[in-house]
Symmetry: C2
């Protein structure tokens, strides 16, 4: 049998999978229409509602990775010609703009430098200057490419004041910091399983408010994707149990267990663990004389971008961390390529021993090359 | 910890997962850009090429279920206004027509009754009567809704003679009967993992011929799906290793193992096992006085449709098989709803003991109600 090396996953995702989740993955299958599986789907939906902080009935896991969640939101809500204001301050904001434009949207980008949040004032200006009604405003809650923690409430209020839906990318935030879909007025939210949920990549939790559901119901055009068509998928997750596609059964087992692990620990405890250990890691990096890329007020605890010191070969350090210590961290993407390291403390990877291991290893390697 | 009941999966899929695959699923993760994972992706590609029977370089596993494979083929190959001839003789032919039309295709259906194959003559007539060039001809190799085994070679020759690409749905055929992509002149082929590969649902193996790759390369319009955009995805599976989306790592572990299990047994042995046990099951059902829905010449070994005898409550029999024997079989879909049972002998479920168990259980239940 083939083997893979043992890693400590401290990059921008995937994170280490919880042992209970690994065990769940090896459970023999039942069919996707088996009464036992349908009951499990209900449990997943109820657990997702808790973690999303929502009462939305249309809450489920799409059969693809986080980016499939993004595509699900846009193909279902956006019709050709719809105006969408999109916050672009990193790779995933850019991706939203790309996905929306493939749905025929008129994308109105609101930009900020990579490493800064989107300003509500800039969103307001875009909403006021638009040539007509705006269908949706979209931002990334936790920009995986920059480590920025985007405040949501003000932008949500602005979106609603202008009659627009509020779309939030919560791929890296869900289960790490509170998303609070209902309190933040989010109409459509998507995430991934491989970040703070400690589940392998492969599913995209999504949730849609009644307003968003209504927007899907009253579409004038057919949804361009069959695979992501929620008008059909909700009949499988709902009472009808109408066959659409075969659910990824083992991954649903895994998600069920990952969510239960979170709820068993207690969501408040989970958020506190991420916050405390993230701040501890960030303090340790600053103690080493390193510069954090994001201002303190907008710094995610679960994903830290730290600037590569002058004269240091960033790829060589990552390679040595992997080869000599088994630690994976991420490099920079897009504008930040070569300029930062991205260090994750997500889900099961968010442990004190990992903070200590990583900072000690990095200190040692930097001492050797500087 | 939650529990699910133990089942013998003899429906139209998922089938029972091989124990080696279940074990692979519980392997701790490495990152999706880890050198060890990239090596594993190469192994998956090489194994898929063996099982597909192709030299196609563009062979990979899409991050979704079999239907995502279908959508991948159509969104990448078809542009608005393209004519596509689609064989519709069951639910999955209908689905191809739906997916193609959402890509803006002009769909030319070639129909046959549910339970019969598509006649090459009918395809030829459609090609000749089309109002202009036809971009592609698409058929389902193993119609999961009917149990029909579609001959491919003649239709492939006709497609090529008319300058069209040949698209084949191999969801239920791959790993059960020979697909032989290159020998059959198939330009684009997709499958799922949960049928004859003995892997859970969640990935869609796909392969594209150089001609199909050229059709993607020379598109005039942008691919409407970001998630399924092969022009980007092939840069992750190819030498570039360009990040697109996070691969479903655990499922790739599982697919790697499932394919290796097939190759270890030997593909010829695998096909012989399916053929022999399928024919044995079908003979046993006929011995019981039951009528098989598909004529012998077009009967799939891995999926048998058997007509529900007059006066028998088909759903009640399925429920009792599940509850009293732990056996799952499928009911009819679409035109065959309520009229047939669908009995699978796919992958790891294709074992002599399952043939004996199922036929004995069914005989007992039918004796009680007749």
């Amino acid at each position: 049998m083939w083997q893979v090396p043992t890693r400590v996953l401290m990059g921008p995702g995937p994170s280490d999978v919880h042992p209970r989740v690994l065990k769940a993955l090896s459970t023999p299958l039942v069919g996707h229409l088996d009464p036992a599986f349908l009951a499990l789907m209900n449990e997943v939906r109820d657990l997702l509602k808790q973690v999303f902080g929502t009462k939305n009935e249309l809450t489920l896991a799409m059969s693809g990775t986080g980016s499939a969640g993004m595509e699900t939101v846009f193909v279902n809500l956006i019709e050709p010609g719809d105006r969408v204001v999109i916050g672009v301050n990193g790779l995933f904001g850019q991706r939203m703009a790309d996905v929306a434009s493939r749905c025929g949207a008129e994308v109105i980008p609101v930009t900020a430098p990579w490493g800064e949040p989107i300003a509500p004032e800039a969103v307001e200006k875009a909403l006021k200057q638009a040539d007509g009604p705006v269908k949706a405003v979209a931002v990334v809650h936790a920009e995986t490419s920059t480590g920025v923690w985007q405040p949501l409430a003000d932008i949500g209020r602005l979106a609603h004041a202008h009659g627009a839906l509020f779309i939030v990318d919560a791929v890296t935030s869900l289960g790490g910091v509170p998303v609070e879909v209902d309190k933040n007025g989010i109409d459509a939210c998507y995430s991934g399983t491989q970040k703070c949920l400690s589940v392998p990549p492969g599913l995209a939790p999504v949730t849609f408010s009644p307003r968003a559901q209504e927007a899907i119901r009253t579409r004038k055009t057919k949804i361009q994707s069959w695979y992501f068509d929620l008008s059909m998928i909700q009949q499988y997750w709902g009472e009808e149990r109408f066959y659409h596609h075969t659910a990824p059964i083992s991954m649903i087992y895994a998600l069920r267990e990952g969510l239960q692990v979170l709820v068993d620990e207690g969501l408040e405890n989970v958020y506190r663990r991420h916050l405390e250990l993230g701040r501890r890691l960030q303090a340790a990096l600053e103690d080493m004389g390193l510069v954090l890329h994001v201002a303190e007020a907008y710094r995610l605890p679960q994903l830290t971008t730290v600037r590569v010191p002058e004269g240091v070969d960033e790829a060589a350090i990552r390679r040595r961390l992997l080869e000599e210590f088994g630690i994976e961290i991420g490099g920079g993407l897009g504008e930040l390529k070569g300029k930062v390291w991205r260090v994750g403390l997500m889900g099961y990877s968010c442990q004190m021993k990992n903070v200590v291991l990583f900072t000690s290893a990095l200190r040692q390697l930097l001492a050797e090359v500087r």
